[in-house]
Amino acid sequence: MSEQAMITVRDLSVSFGTTAAVKNISFTVVPGRCLALVGESGSGKSVTARSLLGLSGGTVSATELSVCGQNALALPDRSWQQIRGNSVSMILQDALMALDPLRPVGREIGDALKVHAKLPKSERTQRVLQVLESVRMPEPERRAKQRSTELSGGMRQRALIAQALAGNPQVVIADEATTALDSALTALVLSQLRELKEQGRGVLMISHDLAQVAHLADDIAVMRHGEIVEAGTTEQILGNPQHEYTRQLLRAVPSGVPRFTALSAASKPLTAPLPNQPVDADPALSVTQLSKAFGKHQAVEEISFELPRGKTLGIVGESGSGKTTTARMVLGLQMPDDGRVQLLGEHFAPAHESQRRMLREQMGAIYQNPLGSFDPRYSVGQLLTDALSRGTSKRAAEYRKTVAELLEQVELSTDLLGRNPRELSGGQRQRLAIARALAPKPSVLVLDEPVSALDVSIQATVLDLLDRIQLETGTSYLFISHDLSVIEHMSDAVAVMNQGRIIEQGATAQVFGAPQQEYTKLLLSAMPRLR
């Protein structure tokens, strides 16, 4: 690192009250290079990033903290305001929340200019459009006038990048800039970050996914519990990881890992035999010619697929391709315009709710955000008792044993029984959701983005759990995700959706090995891979 460092951090510690979120970490950010901070959720990555802008919100101490040549430890707020967005800018973690939903994105971007460059209004508008174009925002003029709620996830992320770029900063901090984006968009964002690096700016990239940073970062620092456990060049870290934790992170990346192979060392070994399925039985789920339109917009168009018993069908597609709509129609939550759904050979949808109530127990659902699907007044135990008692009671003692079994099945401790789901971690919540879905012993589980909100390490444990449950119970999964690597790891067969249609389906190896459609090829090429 011969160049002049833009940011130098030595022995940085940040604490909130008595708890230390970041402990004695050191790194430098250099122009033209990208440093990646990688680590599990809660390891202190965002706090580190925020303290580089004087916005940590906690108590900061360091032997050295210099930002663009200034001693950031004793900087008054006014001077910070000069640095923020001007010399150093940050792309915040959550694109949905980082843009004011009540203001047009163009204005949000323009505010950065208002503070720093005293441009006349027309020039400012010009500049906003220019930045939006540079991040390849479609129809920049229209989008600038829209609010973040009117933009898709990818557009929001790009708007956020544009906002960070508006002030023409020398250092860009990208906090999970690609999380929750589908692979095409991830590729796009990564290429934009690369561009920044090539323009000679310093980039600090933050992620929990080593695969995501592999192609961009020059250096990687692995964080855990507020400390940097291992740092080095990308080749060193990926090729020859020294620390156990780094290896664990690398292993948790699902792409290229065959089915029923544990991703996490913590998971129980997957040894249970696959129960024998009668070959001539009806498929678990059979969907024919399902269509749904919202107004003029055809969200789902004549899709058909079959899910054999005990198997997993993965549905993959970019955001807005109609995956969730399909899942909702399959679950009987949305009336299809056309087509039909059969569950275990019996007619399921479209039908009147009372007609299929008996069949309901055969199909469960897992959502991306499990918290939203729990009644906020219920504790863990009550949720499970309610599910077991078919809604007649949430406290009945007779189910205590079954509840304990369910918890064991999803590897949760019975200590959690009295807790409210809000007091659980993301991974624990998803396990609870799975336990609840398993309570009526369903034949089919519909999983809509079940691991998209989890970081790779947690995702690995949940995916392992799902694998084990399928082996033990023979439940069929309709597994929906935008993440190709997850789908590749989990599915026996894959259906690729694009603009409401299934454009390609077949065995996983076949689709991933030899894609037939141009679109599929495009998707796969954008997929970040470690292996």
Binding site: R84, L92, L102, E108, A166
Partner: protein, 310 residues
């Protein structure tokens, strides 16, 4: 929903609401004991003779069957004929024209003052330390809990009798408006602040506020550009209600500060069973309420086009 469709729907809804109000008043006033004819002749203790009463009944159509009276009543209202006040013997529209502007002014000023005060309270809460915030908190809760008539009396004692700074009664000047407006605005400001407080602190600790800070905006700028918008939404959605409650509060305030206005007319009209007057006031204030509702909804739509459609 397009703006024109929205406006159309609003107008249609408004007509239905006005009709419902008119009907409610018609029914309610006939349920009240007492002969409307007596009211016409000057109240229940009037010295009108039986013939005079009969004449009055005939003149005002009170001898007709109720259904027919109702239709006649609606017919008149439809042609914007509100009739003549029983007690003041003047066209209702003319009386309303005299008193309505006073009350509207008072209420609107109070609404504006309440918003201003609420903003100041909130901005203060953002800047001062913990002790200050607690004191502010208590003050705003108390403000929301004082009855108008007591506050008015205390303000008069303080600012007119003791300090002599402000006039106690309306004298047509801006100064004369100060105390009545304050009396109406203070409790409302307390209420609005309470509504704004939570969403304000939520907005100020949100990711987008952090994003704004990260691009170099000062804390105050974030308060103005982001915090306020979010804080205003819940309070805005209750502004229509607040305005309606201001009209009721105006009755008390107008009595205390001897101001002419809708409030006093309303009180005396109901006491005198002055049906045309009561109807007129009810419909006018319903109309004002509807307009204020529409305006606030319009502002809401402007601030938050996504949220207002539901």
């Amino acid at each position: 929903m397009g703006t024109i469709a929205w406006a159309g729907r609003k107008a249609g809804g408004a007509l239905v609401v006005l009709w419902l109000v008119a009907t409610t008043i018609f029914i309610a006033i006939r349920l009240i004991p007492g002969d409307p004819a007596e009211a016409i002749m000057g109240g229940p203790g009037s010295q009108a003779s039986a013939e005079a009463l009969a004449a009055a009944r005939a003149e005002y159509g009170l001898d007709q069957p109720l259904a027919l009276q109702y239709l006649m009543y609606l017919g008149k209202l439809a042609t914007l004929d509100f009739g003549t006040s029983y007690s003041l013997k003047q066209p209702v529209t003319q009386i309303m024209g005299e008193v309505l502007p006073n009350t509207l002014w008072l209420s609107l000023l109070a609404l504006g003052a309440a918003w201003l005060l609420a903003l100041c309270f909130s901005a203060l809460a953002m800047r001062v330390n913990r002790v200050g915030a607690v004191i502010g908190n208590i003050l705003e809760i108390i403000a929301a809990a004082v009855p108008h008539f007591w506050l008015g009396a205390v303000l008069i004692m303080l600012f007119s009798s003791v300090l002599g700074w402000l006039p106690a009664v309306d004298n047509g000047t801006a100064k004369g408006l100060a105390l009545p407006v304050l009396t109406l605005a203070l409790p409302l400001a307390g209420f609005l602040t309470q509504l704004m407080r939570d969403s304000l602190s939520e907005a100020m600790s949100s990711q987008f506020a952090l994003a704004a800070r990260a691009r170099g905006e000062s804390k105050l700028a974030v308060f103005w550009r982001h915090g306020l918008r979010h804080a205003a939404l819940p309070a805005l959605s209750l502004t229509g209600w607040a305005f309606s409650s201001l009209l009721s509060g105006a009755v008390v305030v107008e009595a205390i500060f001897a101001r002419p206005g809708l409030g006093r007319s309303l009180l005396s009209a109901v006491l005198a069973r002055d049906i045309p007057m009561v109807t007129g006031i009810a419909l006018f204030s319903a109309l004002v309420y509807i307009v204020v509702m529409a305006i606030t909804e319009g502002i809401e739509r402007a601030i938050n086009p996504a949220g207002a459609s539901s």
